[in-house]
Amino acid sequence: MEEHVPAVINLTYLWKKEREELGEKVIETIKGFGAEGIEYCMQCGACSSICPLATTGFEWYNRRLIKAIDFGIRDELFDDVTPWACVACNRCVEVCPRNVNPFEVMFAMRRLMIEELAVPMTAVQALKSLYDHGHAVYTTGREARKKVGLPEKPPTTDSDEKALEELRVLLRNTKLPELGLFPMS
């Protein structure tokens, strides 16, 4: 199986794969990950006309990703970083005339990729940091806070062990532990 989208797409092969190998249409899988509106897309291109990913030359931005998923392409896209570059700006949601919510398609693709462990290290680190400290962005150096006259620790999980433990229990009761991205005990 090639790990990129081939120049000529074999629709029969994809159709068979959905039926025989995956047991579900790729578009259904993506709907299950939160992109319920994907089938309303009419490929008008409004979303890509204002998408920062399209502007900067990422390959599989909103409209194109939707088409690929509609064709039944998924594994071939697991090497592509475009969904992970989505800034969640939601411009596409604002302009879409069909209520597709293209942002959710980008994020549904992330959720599928994470299940398949096709996930960038930066995302795993951010998740681990959220679990360890209650903050995705976290530094131990506190010069900046001291410099501006604030207490070293902000009034967050950072200064409240009980609250941090609460957050950890919460996270352990989500889908996160199933994925086994890092130890969560």
């Binding site: 939160g34 920062p52 990913l53 502007t55 900067t56 030359g57 990422f58 970083v81 992970w84 570059a85 989505c86 800034v87 969640a88 700006c89 939601n90 411009r91 949601v93 604002e94 942002f103 994020f107 992330r110 959720r111 994470i114 960038p120 930066t122 995302a123 998740l127 959220l130 209650g134 903050h135 995705a136 962005v137 976290y138 530094t139 900046a144 806070r145 410099k147 501006v148 006259g149 604030l150 902000p154 009034p155 967050t156 999980t157 950072d158 200064s159 409240d160 009980k162 609250a163 941090l164 609460e166 957050l167 229990v169 919460l170 996270l171 009761n173 989500t174 889908k175 996160l176 994925l179």
Partner: protein, 299 residues
């Protein structure tokens, strides 16, 4: 007027001068702040929202519940926190099953979220709740002759349906411009005002593409407004336009320097607070613009 101050990660650890600015200006504007002890990351996009909708909503709901328990809304100076919390709330309010599953999880830590408390953006609180008149009265310095280009930032605007406060036309936003104008500044529009700054996931995925967006915006600001100052409502835009600008200068890709401030920092400076505390962290130098505000702007 009482709100829970929702800090978020960037402001807590990278730009605490923004936190100092909010804490400084609030009491003088009649705004009381609760610390919301035990708050966490909002959750930001690259964490649980990338894993699962229920997990996203649960972390958001825990933060929102900290305000709800006290009968107050949250206020933030970070666009990401604003939109992640607003979108999570929208999902919970519009889908009973999501709300039920989230509360199932919250029950395990003795919490509940009813959907009452929301997260407001500090710019909207200033604009709507405090009001332009009160801001004008509280300012000691006037920004005479200072030209500003604003950067509202994506998550201040879209998707408008999930946000608690909405611009009449999110593609032609006015709130931040009005907030700057009331301080006496000459606020000039530019073509790329609503373009993305290139921060966030785009930056962690591909730094060069991120700089490309920053450069497009900065060059447009330079050419169309010749601004003395860029003012934003978002901590990510603040960091990006400040740091990417320095990088582009170092590489010889741009030959100008425009200081960047968060609006609450600009307001704190105009109200006479110590610049070291309320605007002391940056890489694109601010000294000149701060002196200009303090020395020549006395009312």
């Amino acid at each position: 007027m009482k709100y829970g101050l929702f800090l978020g990660c960037n402001i807590s650890f990278n730009r605490p001068d923004v936190e100092a600015a909010i804490r400084s200006v609030s009491p003088l504007l009649g705004v009381e702040l609760d610390d919301l002890n035990g708050q966490s990351c909002c959750p930001t996009w690259g964490t649980v929202p990338s894993v699962d909708t229920i997990a996203w909503c649960a972390v958001g709901a825990r933060n929102l519940a900290l305000g709800e328990e006290k009968g107050i809304d949250l206020v933030t100076a970070c666009n990401t926190c604003y939109s992640s919390l607003s979108e999570a709330r929208y999902k919970m309010l519009n889908d009973a099953e999501t709300m039920r599953e989230v509360n199932e999880i919250l029950k395990k830590i003795g919490k509940e979220y009813k959907g009452k408390s929301k997260c407001r953006h500090v710019a909207w609180v200033l604009y709507r709740d405090v009001g332009l008149d009160r801001i004008k009265k509280a300012a000691k310095y006037e920004l005479d002759d200072i030209v500003i280009a604003v950067q509202p930032g994506c998550h201040f605007l879209w998707p408008s349906k999930v946000l608690p406060d909405r611009e009449e036309d999110p593609f032609n936003p006015v709130v931040l411009r009005e907030l700057c104008k009331v301080l006496g500044a000459d606020v000039r529009p530019y073509t790329r005002m609503i373009d993305c700054c290139g921060a966030g996931a785009l930056k962690s995925t591909n730094q060069e593409k991120s700089y490309k967006l920053a450069k497009m915006k900065l060059e447009c600001i330079r050419k169309e407004t010749d601004a003395d100052l860029i003012v934003t409502t978002c901590s990510s835009c603040l960091i990006q336009l400040d740091e990417a600008q320095e990088m582009l200068r170092k590489r010889g890709e741009i030959d100008f320097s425009i200081p960047v401030l968060h609006y609450v920092q600009l307001l704190a400076l105009c109200m006479g607070f110590d610049p070291e505390r309320v605007a002391g962290i940056c890489v694109t130098p601010r000294d000149e613009i701060i002196s200009k505000i303090v020395e020549s702007g006395r009312k």
